[in-house]
């Protein structure tokens, strides 16, 4: 591979950075070792690069940071104020203020403070305490009544559930004889099953016939049906 002085100069950084292909690298070396013009150039640039790499970072002036902050955010006092104001935008502070405001609103509402027609007298501690105490007692009494009502309803509900779950118990609880009612009828006036009602009427009629034919039964039948 033929290598020229122009190529050496153009690819010098690639050579120094190790980016040449093996073929190019050997051609480069061969040329530089035999060229009186390129050899000192390569050596000088390599030394310069070493000098650049040896340069250490310069320490900036101590006042640079403050100067930058002053230039961007303003003087220290204003900066502190801005920082303080910015801290007010933090979620923690906002939540705290929101909960505090909610608490105050609840206390004022409990003390009977009228938000539509606010009066300064209602904001006196003694008034707030007295109103809050009265409200608290009222709320307690209403709550106690509500709980008591709730208990009664719950008890009724429990009994009904028990009856539904145990039909035997329910039948036992129902009285066996209803002297004022016709046999086969339930508590409702309208019979739910007409056929059953007809059969009951028929049995009633038969009993009355038996009673008339056999006076012996009249006492017991009469006791049961016609006291």
């Amino acid at each position: 591979m033929n290598w020229t002085c122009e190529q050496t100069e153009a690819r010098l950084s690639d050579y120094l950075d190790g980016l040449l292909q093996p073929v190019e690298q050997s051609a480069f070396n061969l040329h530089v070792n035999t060229c009186e013009r390129c050899a000192p150039l390569v050596a000088a640039v390599a030394r310069t690069l070493g000098g650049l790499y040896a340069m250490e970072p310069v320490e900036p002036p101590a006042e640079l940071e403050n100067a930058i902050l002053t230039a961007t955010l303003g003087a220290p006092s204003w900066r502190n104020l801005r920082r303080w104001l910015k801290s007010l935008q933090s979620p923690r502070f906002v939540y705290s203020m929101a909960s505090l405001a909610a608490t105050l609103i609840v206390i004022l509402a409990a003390s009977g403070f009228s938000f539509s027609k606010p009066k300064l007298a209602e904001l006196r501690p003694a008034t707030i305490y007295r109103n809050a105490d009265r409200k608290a007692h009222l709320v307690y009494a209403q709550s106690a009544k509500f709980v008591s009502d709730l208990r009664v309803v719950y008890e009724i509900q429990t009994r009904l559930n028990e009856n539904e779950q145990n039909p035997a118990t329910r039948e036992q609880a129902v009285p066996q004889n209803f002297p004022d009612k016709q046999p086969g009828r339930t508590d409702n006036t309208n019979p739910s099953a007409p056929k059953q009602q007809n059969r009951a009427d028929e049995i009633g009629r038969s009993l009355r016939v038996l009673a008339s034919q056999f006076p012996v039964f009249s006492g017991s039948v009469g006791e049961r049906r016609m006291p």
Partner: protein
């Protein structure tokens, strides 16, 4: 902020060779970044690259603005270089030599054309990748490589003319 301010100050110092100007330029960079923060889009590159791009634009503006007043000789305001803590382990004679060489290379850097200077600073002093330099300078990668190469060769020639021979 300390990391960024240090990096920006170093770019400005290597470009201008003047501490006072570098401090003012660093402030201007942060002020511009603060004002144009809304225009930054992460899709177009990292934040550091964007800041470097802002710095480069301000440096070029500053270079053009002060072109007439500039003295082509050494622009150093004779402030001593304050090396960082990493150099604390060196012997005093080594430290002095390094400081002297650093000052000479810095002086040679300021004699480079701004196009070549910014390319060399970003590549060899800030250790940026070619793709990052391409974003900062807004030129094709081939142009970036060419500028870096020419910048290194030109810097070596300037140092030779100054009689400096880095070991």
């Amino acid at each position: 902020m300390r990391r960024h301010s240090r990096r920006i100050f170093n770019i400005c110092y290597r470009f201008t060779g003047n501490r006072t100007e570098s401090q003012d330029l660093s402030q201007d960079v942060f002020l511009r970044v603060y004002r144009t923060l809304g225009s930054y889009r992460s899709a177009h590159g990292g934040f550091a690259t964007w800041m470097t791009s802002v710095t480069r634009n301000l440096l070029i503006d500053h270079y053009r603005r002060t072109k007439r007043d500039r003295v082509t000789d050494s622009l150093d305001d004779k402030m001593p270089l304050v090396e960082n803590k990493e150099s604390a382990g060196r012997r005093p004679d080594e430290q002095a030599l390094l400081g002297e060489l650093s000052g000479q290379v810095q002086s040679a850097l300021t004699k480079l054309s701004p196009e070549l200077r910014e390319a060399v600073i970003l590549r060899d002093l800030q250790q940026l990748e070619y793709s990052e330099i391409q974003q900062v300078l807004a030129v094709p990668e081939g142009t970036v490589k060419s500028r870096i190469n020419r910048g290194r060769i030109e810097l070596a020639r300037i140092l030779q003319q100054m009689g400096v021979r880095p070991s």
